[in-house]
């Protein structure tokens, strides 16, 4: 395993250097934040890989598991940069520039408290955000079809969870914490009741699953509310259109495997 970690870290270091060279020069200032984020991340990954390769403590046989975990994390971080952020920079187009300027105007209009994330038309899976990279991915043709534009507000809200120690974010984050704590406390009580022997045993498992879901669900609810207060009823209509045209069962609740999103119907209830 020692030889494997040595060789793999050298190969990944080469890959990191090559990826840095794939970031085009002369990109517009619109995309500068992502450029900086990519270079910072690459530097962090290189530092981690150098540690994996030559840190005396990590190289001890009793620390092999720790060393392998560090290597795996660096590998995944590098993959993510390559598949997402550096690909966005490498394939940056005029359409991306237009979408970014529009997103910037929308963010200014609602006095969004953070710098507008970079928006790129490179998504393979509808709208999604990488808050740590300050990047929102949207479908390639989205710039020409504005029906889902209000979903951009939902994505902007995800960035509000990515930073701590900013007084401008306190009200939003503290409200979320309060809601999350209240829901958790309620479900813990239900779990205790279900475990007292008077309910079918399956209930206990269901409630435990929902308890696991609530942290992610409450984030989605809060992002929905942010979008609703920013874009108005257009957001609720966009959500309805999305659920009706591409959703699964609007009322489906996960019973055994946690999900990242609450049921569509619950999100609609929050919106109306």
């Amino acid at each position: 395993m020692k030889e494997y970690c040595d060789a793999a870290s050298v190969q990944l270091l080469d890959r990191a250097r090559h990826l840095a060279s794939l970031i085009p020069s002369g990109l517009h200032r619109d995309v500068a934040a992502l450029d900086v984020a990519c270079r910072d991340r690459l530097n962090e990954i290189v530092a981690s890989l150098k540690r994996v390769r030559s840190d005396a403590l990590l190289s001890l046989p009793q620390n092999t598991a720790l060393r392998l975990r560090a290597l795996r994390r660096a590998r995944w971080d590098l993959d993510r940069l390559e598949y997402v952020a550096i690909s966005v920079l490498h394939r940056w187009t005029d359409t991306d520039t237009k979408i970014n300027r529009l997103a910037d105007k929308l963010a200014r209009e609602i006095q969004f408290p953070l710098t507008t994330p970079v928006v790129a038309g490179l998504s393979q899976n509808y709208y999604h955000t990488y808050p740590d990279l300050r990047l929102i991915c949207i479908p390639l043709a989205e710039g020409r079809f504005l029906l889902h534009l209000s979903d951009l507000y939902h994505e902007l809200a995800h960035s509000l969870f990515a930073f701590s120690n900013d007084a401008r974010l306190d009200a939003f984050q503290l409200r979320w914490l309060a809601v999350n704590d209240a829901a958790t406390k309620y479900l813990e009580g239900e779990l205790r009741r279900a475990g007292s022997g008077f309910s079918p045993r399956a209930f206990e498992r269901y409630i435990a699953t929902w308890l696991q879901c609530w942290c992610e669900w409450s984030i989605e609810f809060f992002c929905d509310l942010f979008a609703l207060y920013s874009a108005g009823p257009a957001y609720a209509w966009a959500h309805l259109h999305l659920c009706a045209s591409s959703g699964g069962g609007a009322f489906d609740l996960p019973l055994f495997t946690p999900s990242t999103h609450p049921p569509d119907e619950a999100r609609m209830q929050v919106s109306v």
């Binding site: 403590l57 975990r69 560090a70 899976n125 955000t129 704590d181 989605e220 990242t260 999103h261």
Partner: protein, 120 residues
Amino acid sequence: MSDIGAQANLYQRLRWYADLIDEVLLNVKAGAGSIVDERRKQLASLLMATGPQQTRPLDAAWFGALLRAKELLNVDWRHIGESLLILGLEPQVIAPLEKLARALEGWRSDTANRMRQSAR
């Protein structure tokens, strides 16, 4: 937000905590590092904030949710956090920290795999 975005958010959090715990574990196991070490203090304050309290930082709330999701709240994390801040660390704190590190790594890797699958 699509599922891949939510998984990416979760992944980032898991990754940060996993890295922190491994770094502290490495030093603690070797008898290196000290109670003034910044990363050790960070982990200690996260662990100490897992109990019920009126206010806590966002990081600690997420950390608590992760422990709950992995059914790891039955350990006295507050005590382990306090132990990280005193001289002469009790060796008993290493085993639960290792268990936590393994659980987080398993979850991190599951989340990474789910992101790969949802992108296929």
